[in-house]
């Protein structure tokens, strides 16, 4: 045995001074496992880990004997954190899902306490789009050698359907269905975030859709429970969590302690991007509309959810939903799932604000331009006619006030996106016309015989008045922008 060059267990090359001819890596691997951990050798009565670091489940019979109230039917799936079985709760005669957690994930003296605390919090979540938790606890398995192993489990709502990964692979997501999914994800996340719970591991595998098209998010908060272990696994590469990393927000990947609900919004952005384009937003990625035949309106929503800086992202899931619904209300019929009685659409401040703000801005602009139109000509005339110095001061005051009002309105307008763009060329033309008209009108009483100059025979009145009114009209049309153009973009899809 000592003469072997490769390890018969892991197949790697043996160092020449391998202790007693045994692979040091395998020795350390076995040494790391404590008694509560999966064994690296076969023992069908407990959970084990095979050479590839994959979790090998205990035999169904061994497991079933620990759950006398359940009829464990079959294995639904297996992931980085554990495995899920379909089972029947005999007394209630209902289908349930039994999730067992990898025993090495729970190998930490504080795990039991954290598990209980988290499970209780999660069990409080009650929402049609979140997989409900019925019960939780732990069972003890006894191995071949009499060693005991504790397995932690959750008993959860069973969702008959498919997960989003399967739906995407099957090409079953059309526009209407995608919208319904987005809206339901937003609902579920907003509810959980309001309850102070962050999912931390939003990915297509955790998003289930039942046969009625109702969406259910699974594994809320589980990632937090296992955070330390997962972090370690990334370092030592003991199991596959890289898939999850692709959906992680940058601040989460950096191990920042200040991860909040906005990390979920980022992950949701990744899921949307993948759903729309079939690709993951890696590196310098293109907006969805450049990668697939997707309405350009999605770009803004997806890119804003994917902002690296949490502050620049959507600040709440309900904001995402509002934007998605706004952009789709014209051209897509929302699916019936979108409208449910318990939808928590709150009267959001973001709806009221823009219209209020634009009213205020409109008043400010009107006041500002009026002041500017009066003030600037006054200053101009006062400089021409030095005896009228008082007009200079009045004019200067009006000009400064007007400029201030306009500046305020423009600054606020920049903060809140406008639906239309002002026509700047026309705005300048209108301003110049108004300015010249006002100069002419004000100059009339200052020359010759004072106010006696105002009579219908004076051509200056008509020229000045015409320019003043024309300039005002021009400016206000320019300020309104071109509403027809933006309607056209809405209809384009």
């Amino acid at each position: 045995m000592t003469s072997l060059k490769t390890c018969p267990t892991c197949g790697e090359e043996l160092p020449s001074n391998a202790p007693s001819g045994i692979c040091p890596k395998c020795l350390m691997q076995v040494g790391m496992e404590s008694e509560n951990q999966p064994r690296s050798y076969e023992d069908p009565r407990v959970a084990t880990v095979d050479q590839g670091g994959r979790f090998r489940l205990p035999e169904l019979a061994a497991l079933a004997s620990r759950f006398p109230d359940l009829e464990i039917e079959d294995l639904l799936g297996q992931g980085g954190m554990g495995a899920v079985y379909r089972a029947k709760q005999i007394r209630l005669d209902r289908q349930v899902a039994l999730k067992i957690i990898r025993p090495d994930s729970a190998d930490d003296p504080s795990f039991a306490k954290r598990f209980e605390r988290e499970a209780r919090t999660l069990a409080r979540l009650n929402h049609p789009n979140i997989v409900a938790i019925y019960d939780f606890g732990d069972v003890t398995l006894t191995g071949d050698d009499g060693a005991q192993q504790t397995l932690y489990y959750f008993l959860m709502e069973y969702v008959a359907g498919a997960n989003m990964r399967q739906l995407m692979q099957g090409g079953e997501l059309n526009a209407t269905r995608s919208l319904s999914i987005v809206s339901q994800i937003c609902d579920a996340l907003q509810y959980a975030h309001d309850e102070g719970i962050v999912h931390r591991d939003i990915k297509p595998e955790n998003i289930l859709v039942d046969v009625h098209g109702r969406l259910k998010i699974a594994d809320f908060g589980l990632a937090k429970l296992l955070t330390e272990q997962v972090a370690e696994d990334v370092l030592t590469g003991t199991h596959q969590v890289m898939g999850t990393l692709r959906y992680m927000a940058p601040e989460q990947m950096a191990g920042s302690h200040s991860v909040d609900h906005r990390a979920d919004i980022y992950s949701m952005g990744v899921v949307f991007y993948e759903m729309l384009t079939g690709d993951l937003p890696v590196g310098r990625f293109e907006p969805p509309s450049k990668r697939a035949t997707v309405d350009e309106q999605w770009d803004e929503v997806v890119l804003r959810a994917l902002e690296a800086e949490p502050k620049r992202r959507y600040q709440s899931a309900s904001d995402v939903k509002l934007d998605v619904e706004k952009m789709t209300s014209d051209n897509l019929v929302p699916s019936p799932d979108n409208v449910r009685p318990n939808d928590k659409v709150r009267p959001d401040a973001r709806i009221a604000k823009p219209s209020q703000a634009s009213t205020i801005n409109f008043a400010l602009i009107t006041l500002g331009t009026t002041q500017l139109m009066l003030g600037l000509p006054l200053v101009f005339i006062a400089l021409m006619v030095p005896t009228q110095l008082v007009f200079f001061w009045i004019g200067l005051g009006l000009t400064l006030g007007g400029a201030g009002c306009c500046a305020l309105a423009f600054a606020d307008g920049a903060r809140i996106p406008r639906e239309t763009e002002p026509l700047y060329g026309m705005l300048i033309l209108g301003g110049i016309m108004g300015f010249i008209g006002t100069v002419i009108l004000i100059s009339i009483p200052l020359t010759g015989h004072g106010f006696v100059n105002f009579h219908s025979n004076n051509p200056l009145i008509w020229v000045g008045g015409g320019l003043f009114l024309g300039g005002g009209g021009c400016s206000s049309i320019a300020w309104m922008g071109e509403p027809a153009a933006s309607e056209a973009t809405v209809r384009k899809s």
Binding site: S16, M28, Y41
Partner: protein
Amino acid sequence: MHDEFQSTQWSEVINAGRNSSPESRQALESLCRVYWFPLYAYARRRVPTVDEAQDVTQAFFADFLEKNSVASARPERGKFRAFLLASFKNFLSKYWEKKRTLKRGGGQTVLSLNFELADSQLRIEPTGGLTPDQLYDQQWVIALLGQILNRLKDEAEQNGKSDQFRELKGFIVGDHQESTYAQVAERLDMTEAAAKKSASRMRKRYRELLREEIARTVLGPEEVEDEIHNLFAVLNL
């Protein structure tokens, strides 16, 4: 030898500090005897010739044990693994300075180090892009595991179970294609279940010894699991 192992603790050595007793000195010596090879492997990467690497290693241990270097070690210096390497690096830099005045072989032999065997292992060692520090750590793990397996073997011999150790040691790390429990059981003239049970006991004892051995080189029991993870990571470089 076993009693010595049990009583030797790095934390005791470091706590003895300046007031080193013959016992604490002996404890340090026994630790050095287990872990000199990784240091020599490090020296071989740092020093141009084999002869010089041997000299400097020998001289270091003489100096290390004679001068009671541990007196200067403060508890926050941490694990024996780190302290030994840091002391050696320190020694090496002084050694370069004094090199001209230091006569070859001038160092007094305190530990008898089997360089011949060491070199036969080192010559064919693939160093695959490792830094000398990483090589030191990897060799450390191998020295540590070798120590544990020697103890397992000694224990088996004492209980008259040398043949069981020989046949079943491979099963410590799991099942493999080499041989099955049934084949081994036949060779050992026992039932398959008994062979399994025996292997399982050996695995359990191995885990105990691993923790015990690591506990000797760190400052407190709370550091043991952490060190196990560190050492595992070292092997995966």
